[in-house]
Assembly symmetry: C4
Homo-oligomer: 510 residues x 4
Amino acid sequence: TRQTRDFDENADLLVKTTLKELIIYIIFLIIISIVTFGMTSSINYYFTNVMMKLFLEQPDSNDMTFKDIGSIDDFWGVHSEPILNGLYWETEENATKPGYIYFENKLLGVPRLRQLRVRKGSCKVHSLFEKTITDCYDSYSYFNEDQSPFGIHQVYNSTDDKNPFVYSSSDKVKASIVDGTFSTYGRGGYVKNLGLMMAESKEIIENLKSNTWIDRGTRAVFFDFTVYNANINLFCQIRLLTEFPATGGAFPSWTFRTVKLIRYVTPMDYFVLACEIIFILFVLYYTIEETLEIKKHKLKYFKEVWNILDVVILLLCYICIGFNIYRVIEVNNVLDSLLGNINQFPDFDSLSYWQNQFNNAVAVMAFLSWIKFFKYISFNKTMTQLSSTLARCAKDIAGFSVMFFIVFFAFAQLGYLLFGAIVEDYSSFSNTLFALFRTILGDFDFVALESASRYLGPIYFLSYVFFVFFVLLNMFLAIINDSYSDVKSDIAEQKSDFELGDYFKRGYAK
Amino acid sequence: TRQTRDFDENADLLVKTTLKELIIYIIFLIIISIVTFGMTSSINYYFTNVMMKLFLEQPDSNDMTFKDIGSIDDFWGVHSEPILNGLYWETEENATKPGYIYFENKLLGVPRLRQLRVRKGSCKVHSLFEKTITDCYDSYSYFNEDQSPFGIHQVYNSTDDKNPFVYSSSDKVKASIVDGTFSTYGRGGYVKNLGLMMAESKEIIENLKSNTWIDRGTRAVFFDFTVYNANINLFCQIRLLTEFPATGGAFPSWTFRTVKLIRYVTPMDYFVLACEIIFILFVLYYTIEETLEIKKHKLKYFKEVWNILDVVILLLCYICIGFNIYRVIEVNNVLDSLLGNINQFPDFDSLSYWQNQFNNAVAVMAFLSWIKFFKYISFNKTMTQLSSTLARCAKDIAGFSVMFFIVFFAFAQLGYLLFGAIVEDYSSFSNTLFALFRTILGDFDFVALESASRYLGPIYFLSYVFFVFFVLLNMFLAIINDSYSDVKSDIAEQKSDFELGDYFKRGYAK
Amino acid sequence: TRQTRDFDENADLLVKTTLKELIIYIIFLIIISIVTFGMTSSINYYFTNVMMKLFLEQPDSNDMTFKDIGSIDDFWGVHSEPILNGLYWETEENATKPGYIYFENKLLGVPRLRQLRVRKGSCKVHSLFEKTITDCYDSYSYFNEDQSPFGIHQVYNSTDDKNPFVYSSSDKVKASIVDGTFSTYGRGGYVKNLGLMMAESKEIIENLKSNTWIDRGTRAVFFDFTVYNANINLFCQIRLLTEFPATGGAFPSWTFRTVKLIRYVTPMDYFVLACEIIFILFVLYYTIEETLEIKKHKLKYFKEVWNILDVVILLLCYICIGFNIYRVIEVNNVLDSLLGNINQFPDFDSLSYWQNQFNNAVAVMAFLSWIKFFKYISFNKTMTQLSSTLARCAKDIAGFSVMFFIVFFAFAQLGYLLFGAIVEDYSSFSNTLFALFRTILGDFDFVALESASRYLGPIYFLSYVFFVFFVLLNMFLAIINDSYSDVKSDIAEQKSDFELGDYFKRGYAK
Amino acid sequence: TRQTRDFDENADLLVKTTLKELIIYIIFLIIISIVTFGMTSSINYYFTNVMMKLFLEQPDSNDMTFKDIGSIDDFWGVHSEPILNGLYWETEENATKPGYIYFENKLLGVPRLRQLRVRKGSCKVHSLFEKTITDCYDSYSYFNEDQSPFGIHQVYNSTDDKNPFVYSSSDKVKASIVDGTFSTYGRGGYVKNLGLMMAESKEIIENLKSNTWIDRGTRAVFFDFTVYNANINLFCQIRLLTEFPATGGAFPSWTFRTVKLIRYVTPMDYFVLACEIIFILFVLYYTIEETLEIKKHKLKYFKEVWNILDVVILLLCYICIGFNIYRVIEVNNVLDSLLGNINQFPDFDSLSYWQNQFNNAVAVMAFLSWIKFFKYISFNKTMTQLSSTLARCAKDIAGFSVMFFIVFFAFAQLGYLLFGAIVEDYSSFSNTLFALFRTILGDFDFVALESASRYLGPIYFLSYVFFVFFVLLNMFLAIINDSYSDVKSDIAEQKSDFELGDYFKRGYAK
Ligand SMILES: [Ca+2]
């Protein structure tokens, strides 16, 4: 945008141009803030919260909730009792019509169970154990996936079938790729839709259970459904995932995506729409400006950080605008097809996923726009002082950071190897990095380390804190402190720069 | 008050005047402290605590307490069992006389249930869902409020009534405006008083339940009552609010206001009264002094910060004195009318609310009086040094603060948009601001962010901590540190100021 | 002890004397450490822990433990079930002999119940309520104590008595004064001993309950007993206190004092005894030395801080020695009288209390002895540097501390008045002081403040943190930092002082 | 390795040599990282976690888990119900074949119960109590150990035996020495193997219980077994230890060792094997290099810290290599003998213990290798600056540390003596040291101290925080800060050193 080095003739003109640009930019920021804050509201949190409490924290008759699932039995208990009770709210008076969750939230279509399996013999038993242990089921991976039919007992609605559970390919299921705790799961699977009413669904689940639908080969079971609340016009796409890793046992996890797929309903929505249109105009204006500048400065343009930031923001804007248009069209399609046939499973997964990515992109775009604001205020003398302090100690800090990260990395590797098998915070290398970082901020669990290893735990902790915390962090502070003093005295010597504040003072004095 | 610039002739006279003023001010502070500490006692906390444990933490037969309420069924369960058991303590021997809560606390009059509703069709269902979803109930707001009668089944004491539940206007109910979690609720509502005895109240509640008093239109139910403990002469005004938001589900919240509405009973109370009278005399004295000064200096008076503080303190004093008189009169009126007819609901809501505001005003007044104390001790050399350090780096800190708050605000907006729908600490913009502030102090929940978004959560957290914590806060420290060194050396050069301490030394030396 | 200023002739002599003194002092410190560490062991903690888990955390049939007691009913439930089960371990085979707690710990004599009451009408009901509320029972204080007999129903073992529960004066009961949550309780009370066997005790408790031993006048019930473990030779004196304040409800608290009343049993104990005798010799030696110095320097002696510390340590030594002798005699007396008649309640309260005070005095004495060690090492150059840094900035820090504590106090008063009735951390002035101090260290509960007052809570917290934490603490750091630089440069200029290290170097060089 | 002082002729040559060494070292580090990360995986944590949840957190019919065990009855309850249910998974269809834990994990052989006891009369009852208390059982120690047979009732499978429970010597049992909470336990004991099937084991446990296998003499019971998961090729060696200390009661503790005893199974394992061979070649290379240097420099070699580090790393490497070979042989032996006779208890204790030590040794070796990396980067100017800052303030910091640790130690002794009997964090001297260290980082429990001693608790805490935290730590910071400024100005004056960066710049410029 502005290229201060081009004009040097007249300070007044510079200030006027700058002021104009600043005011336009502030309007742009206000529009962005209206659009982003208009997109969300704290009711989103409460909607997610209500759904989470209902599906994750309602206990079954053994006081077991979805969050507590630890074995196959727990899985069947939770899925046949509290989760079905949460989904189906048929009232006594109206027992043949599907009820609304909490009387307000419509379950769209039917829920879907999807299973992913590994092949028997997908791993090799060591020769010593070959006689004792015959079968081996590896952790899930694309290459180990079992796609053959299974199940031998009598099955619901298909008494004569020998292998009643059949794999559906990813083209048919079109589930999205899911990143679980243990593996990244594929798009196909053994699929089973539940019914529209409680009784039907209960029968299906009991049938699956009695036919040992879940066995040693099972690695993950997904339970997917979508809920719509018309009062507040929000969709909640819910995925309850239970993983059955190669270790035995079961580990539950979940995704609740509360998204506003239908965006323009209330008058307020239309006001936001108006702001969005103004936003598009702004984007076009800045696009033209940047294009002109690129033409003028060619490759030199990309050497300034602020310009690169401009381009990144504009790209994000175009991506968001593009998705917004796509979303309006796609939602209509999906809902049309769904409302024609309510007995099917409506796949809001990818739609809600992309809506979420869209929200994130808008959020990042707004964040970067705020950071860009510094370009305009870096005019002021104090700002210069602070930023030149940072610039001056940049080299020292870089050198220091290299040292810091080598030590930090060495400690992380040590911690992961020493405590990884016992302490959750150290169970993977990335967790260890985070755990060590949190330790710097005072959030640590000394007792867990001590109980993992009575002597190595405290020694490790004390030496980490001593080196990283006391020595290195204080050194860091010293670097900044020292540089600041230097910059201060430098600036005190040099004659005062031109400042925006002076301009106003002069104007005021006139 | 004191205007040092007026006399410059004689240091001794100045010191004597200052000393006199200081001593008078210390007496004033002592009086204020007696009055404020005399107003309260730690028994207030225990009284609130006993009431909270009784009404919020007693479980019903499903182990559900008021705090756990999550649905309409939970609401009825808690209100018909533990809350009624907490209110009515009829003993076997004396079954016809109302019992006292914990044998000590009298329930004043009867409790009151009040409901607020929204109109059916207060919001618009999107055209895609119009066929499936017929009704829409918006979030509560003044414009959506339902004021028409409702209820169709047979109702207690009014068998022939078709719409037994009738709206009472705010003029009739005179409830105070309540700021709930989801909305700000109006003063009217559908009102139902309970009875003086357990059996009667239980019948009323069961009747309401069987007539679905709470349905999809319900947005909030208030349960109000007041308890008086004669042993310690304290009122506890209790409001249990259950909100039924448009998301479905139920969210409980509560207000317990322990106040001393009848203030002068014990000898100690009369001693406080005496202090209050002295306090009034002081206020008059300072009023005259300030008036004289305003007359003398005119508008110049308001240019000094200390003078503005004086005026604010005096205004607060007059407000408190005024309210104190009003309270004595009003309490007598309310109690007289109540004790004439014990079957009504006694409204202590506004009285306890204003008593609370009075307590807060007194507290702030006492706080400001302490801060004013700095005016007298800023005499000392070390103090000058510290305050001039602050003054010197004020501009730097201001510039720095602008930078800090832009980054802080940008991070808050980003956090709210990214995690607002899942993490409670980020569920509204103000919560996000607080959460980020608490992160600086080391009080954060990294795991919640990570589970909300596996990659964005840690990236967001690390970048926030890095920029805001390490860079900016350390910079802040550097600014203060540097300025302090400068001030130190400046002061070392200049000749010693006049000091109060010197005066004493000289007096001692004589 | 050493008075450096007396001899100035010869550095070598000075060093030799100092070294001799230092070595003697180190031996003294070793003896003290043996004595103090010999007095205790981590088995003490596990003994207390086992007793606490047994008496405080065992639930009754309503899942209520002693810690949860909240009403009179809870009190009776807990005292008749889990506490009696914890006390009496009669086995099936040996039903007529008292069993040992966990088969290892002997209950000494019988437990005792003691009640303290207030008089009916000990407070005045305000005229407005006089007709409604007839009785008033004040909080407990010495002046309100009820000492008249009470109880009207038929009572265990005294069917013809009209007022079966009689007050025993403090001379007879000789309980110690107890500092409860609500009041400080006197030494007398209504006393009831339990029996040696479960059945007898259960009958007594049921009798008390059916005769409403606890009523509106009750303010505190003490349950006292003592347990002895011969394996590890430890007494545990236990007091379970339930307070029934004027607010209604009940608040439990407890004291577990694990003490080694019989000190010399095992060979290790006799080794400690030997060290104690050496310790006494040291004390005599230092007493003589200090007496000589006092005679020589007269009042000038008390002008040096180190000398005052010497005197304090010696006084503590004499107190400890005196108590140690008293304890040996007293324990023999108490145990003799007890073992003669096992049906009485053995009062180990004052003995264990004084043993505890003795332990504390020994601990403080050992701590001060360590601090005195600085007198010898303050020789070294680096030490001088650090201590002169402190000395140099002492005045600044003092001035700063005054400012700090005025603001701190003002915030504490404000917090107590604003949140005292709702938040536990702010429920008394001292709690508020601690809560604010802990906030500086990052241990705070923001959510409690926010829920106590939606707007004042965050404002209060933010302004406190901003002023106290950021401004004042950083200022504090700046003061120290600055003074240290000054001292460093001063020392660099002055020629090197005499140092102990040099002496050794020279010796090594020879 | 490199000895810079030897060649001074040519900077270019030096740089080239350094670069070569650096690149070789980076390859070495990569190999080490592959080997160490290849040894472990986060599946280890989940395997441990699944086993821990199964054996430690499954409740019995009284809702008691292994973690909650507090008495002998609890012990029998937990060991006969949830633990046996966790071990034996016999399905209905296949009731005669041992089932796999969670259908995936094979229990190797049978579990073993082992008891350690102390002799009756191992301690002396004080003369005062001799008549009342007859028996005394001391804490466990090697000298007090009871090795005589015990048990008098009818016993399983040996009806005619009078003393059915017989001690097996350490030579026979060959258990490893275990460091419990209360004592260090020996290698022998009273041993009882369970069966292969649930019914048999249950009978054995009930028999032990009815014959009071656990009585006053019992001090520790070990429950040992090993589980193997063929899917992920991991062993989990589990030891559940319940201690019955002399205080009465019971304290559970546990060890779960998840180890990869069979290392080379999958292709990935063979890749790691290849890396290990490369690693061995590297070790040989560095061994030769260091040997040459030692020959050249003789004793001077050991004066440089880096050289000592080299030797330590090499020694660790040889130890690891040696163990790796031993492990392969030993595992084959143990498994062979086990799979021949599945009715015996397979002792994986020492194997898993040494495997654990091997893992730790490898981890430390990798850590030290990273630290050695500093030798190469200490070339850079900024690095020099930082390390010379540390060097310059080393003496000051040493002096300061002495002061710090005297105060720290004095506070630790005081805290241990004052609160040791009540607060867990202060229950032993080492715990107190850790607790005080954690307090510096903001992790403390003020309320526990306050409830242990109402006045001494807060006084102790406040004075500790004031002295140690505010005064000493800030002083520490000041030392570093000040030294850094000095070093900075020194370096600014001296002419620029040779730098690696310059070399590259020059190369780039050519
Ligand atoms: Ca913290």
